[in-house]
Symmetry: none
Subunit: 462 residues, 2 copies
């Protein structure tokens, strides 16, 4: 039996323990966006540091102005390739809590009617389960061969879900330490349950919060109704104007730098048999609301978006209240593609809003931070081919080169700050309910994800 | 000295005692909306019953499914006109308590820099002070002449601030007992500090809550953005469509039954010197958002409104969340005028929303209840002219016939259930801070309010 086969076999034999470790990590309530969970984020970082030290990494928790980073290196660096693996230990908030079937931080295994087993809990998929696939692969190599065949550095972040505010500076300050030949990121999905994938296109992101204010106090609608400007009407009109009936964003200049999909990629995508109608039907929708003239797959991956993620203002309790509120709030995010630039989109958006603001209103903008440009991966690198083969071997199916509608800012930063390309390999599934109640990670994703990394480590070391 | 002059003189001479009685009543914490104050509501009803018995009324506390009514009649009914006086002894909650300069239920007199004296405390104006102006007028008549010259019935309610849930049934069950020639309601304001007023127009009300649902769960904007219907965009578009740029409501049929202001009323209003610009500037606004072609005064009193009082959906915490929420909510209220009917407006609104609903969305409506039609008082009744003269005599200024943007449902019910017209006469001022901290009632309102009722009683008895 080859070393590789022995390591894979070790993964199979110790899967129960791997699951237990994942559950330990999921139990830590590391919600990065809410300051009340600051200590939990610290705890998750320290948990990872302990595990890395146990795997004989030189590991340390590094403070930042926000939540800490965990950085680790194989001490026994040899000649040959050197990778930097990235994951994040922070998770999304859990509201609405009442929709969770079990408490979000009490992970469990649920067996589905199709026989599959799901690891359920906040972070099981995004990104605690995913990052552990790599750690458990390292563990198996160490256990069986006493060493890791690939020079490996690791960075775990605790602010991915809040837009990575501390990341750029940290990378820049630790450039020499973190620079490697290639970055590996495990925060993406497979093409489908059977088909592994490398994500070769990622959308960029721009986030903007705004508050529109009118009167200097809440007003009684009987005394001021219709004469007094109602900021809820104002913000609704602005949001309504953002897209036309064909789903096209109406902000002037928004589509500057947006390119049509290259014919080769479009052809591969067409061959994957993505069924947009089924994709939407699975979440209870019957028709696409996106740009006319583009497939659902293009809408969610290669086209830019403008989405309102939250609106609030006025009374939201029981019954009714005859109030004209003093202000109305909205949170928006934009997904960017091609050569769209976050700063230009922000400027165009603000101009769009300002031009629609009645004279008796003011608007305040809050830049939430964490904006970054879109990314296109070089699919011609030899490493790409090695990873494709490793994945295809494990899953018995050719790995897909897919676009992702999501955004992983670190990839842009790795290129910009560290001059390094990134391969994005992940085992999450589209139905993992990341960011939603009842988040889960397929046990098969976890198990074969670990096995995939065992193979990728071997392939990249060769 | 005529009997009327003697009674007016008696009012002046016993003002201190009238104030003491008001303070006794204000000290009772009769907050109707909070079950914790149920016993206090009962106590206020019993206090009023005792006072009425002392004034030789046949008075009784009558139980309802909620807080009790107090009903009273002059025992010495004679030939001639018969009025039913209405007031309410319940008060609004006192939160935010920290904004009160003195405890809300420890009434006191504050002397202002302009020399005016203010009776301060919860309910001093709304409606304990106002209802006592009538009772103290009755007291003065009894003290001086041994009788009340006008056949008088009284109903005091304890649920006005919670939407009068028990009122309709009580009126219907006691129709024969309560029917009179005319109802008098003291729960409105003067035109200004110098100008007494009869409120001759009140707006009706229709309330509607709605929730628009799209996908069957919250979605990640990276995975579904733009392709998946975002209910926040849908609800925003619907709200945006409700009014055009000229402030006109776009619901088909909305203006059916809305009449232009009669020329005589419009002329009188124009003469009152209402300054719409100042009215708006006082709350931080610079321009009217209401229907073009109508003055601010018309917009807030004689024109119908469609106001969104609350909108919420998606994420509203710190930072951002890349979510496409499963649902979006809104609360709306409509103020109705002329011959607008709440049921028809509700139907037209729902049709308007339904026609704008994408095929992949559903909408659920919640009728909050408490809707009622608008009221226009017959200003040609001889009683109206008598009350105008009595008020003008007392204040040495012609009484205004004013419209109120607010809504007093009891007037609609008096007409519908008891077939009786209502005259609304009150002495509150716009700056009385009813429903807010530091509620007050001008001592002049209280004193001259009592004197006004002395004159009205004489005028209506004649």
């Amino acid at each position: 039996m080859s070393a590789l086969e022995q390591v894979l076999s070790h993964v199979d034999d110790h899967l129960e323990e791997s699951i237990e470790r994942l559950f330990d990590l999921v139990r830590i309530e590391s919600i990065s966006t809410d300051p009340a969970y600051k200590a939990e984020c610290q705890k998750a970082a320290e948990w990872l540091e302990r595990e890395l030290v146990a795997l004989k990494f030189d590991a340390s928790v590094r403070s930042t102005p926000g939540h800490p980073m965990v950085v680790a290196h194989t001490p026994d660096q040899a000649e040959g390739p050197h990778v930097l693996f990235y994951g994040h230990y922070d998770v999304q908030p859990v509201d609405p809590l009442e929709l969770w079937e079990k408490p979000p931080f009490e992970p469990s295994i649920t067996e589905m009617s199709d026989g599959s087993k799901q690891l359920v809990g906040r972070g099981t998929s995004d990104d605690k389960g995913q990052l552990l696939t790599f750690l458990e692969a390292c563990r198996a190599w160490r256990s069986v061969t006493g060493k890791l065949p690939l020079n490996t550095s690791i960075i775990f972040e605790g602010e991915e879900e809040t837009g990575s505010p501390s990341l750029d500076a940290f990378l820049a300050e630790n450039k020499d330490e973190l620079k490697a030949d290639l970055a590996l990121v495990c925060d993406t999905t497979m093409w489908d349950r059977e088909t592994p994938a490398i994500t070769v296109q990622l959308r960029g992101m721009m986030k903007e919060n705004l508050v529109i204010k009118a009167a200097d106090r809440d007003l009684h609608s009987g005394a001021y109704g219709s004469a007094a400007r109602n900021p809820l009407h104002v913000i609704s009109s602005i949001i309504a104007d953002l897209r036309d009936a064909q789903g096209r964003v109406q902000i002037p200049g928004f589509y500057d730098g947006v390119e049509e999909l290259p014919a080769a990629i479009k052809k591969q995508w067409d061959s994957l048999g993505f069924d947009g109608a089924t994709y939407l039907r699975d979440v209870g929708l019957s028709i696409s609301a996106g740009e006319e003239g583009y497939s659902v797959l293009e809408q969610i991956t290669s086209r830019p978006t403008c989405e309102v993620n939250g609106v609030w203002g006025g009374y939201n309790g029981l019954g009714s209240k005859t109030v004209i509120p003093a202000e109305a709030n909205a949170k928006l995010t934009f997904r960017l593609v091609g050569k769209q630039e976050p700063d230009k989109i922000r400027e165009a958006f603000r101009k769009f809003v300002n031009s629609r603001l009645p004279d008796d209103c003011t608007v305040e903008y809050e830049s939430v931070g964490g904006e970054f440009g879109p990314l296109t991966v070089d699919t011609n690198m030899p490493e790409t081919q090695k990873v494709i083969k490793a994945l295809s071997d494990e899953w018995n199916k050719e790995a897909a080169l897919m676009g992702s509608g999501g955004s992983i800012p670190i990839t842009t930063e790795f290129r910009r700050v560290l001059g390094m390309e990134t391969l994005l390999v992940g085992f999450a599934l589209e139905d993992d309910r990341i960011h939603s109640p009842n988040e889960k990670y397929d046990l098969k994703s976890f198990h074969k994800g670990i096995r995939s990394w065992v193979r990728i480590i071997a392939a990249l070391a060769a």
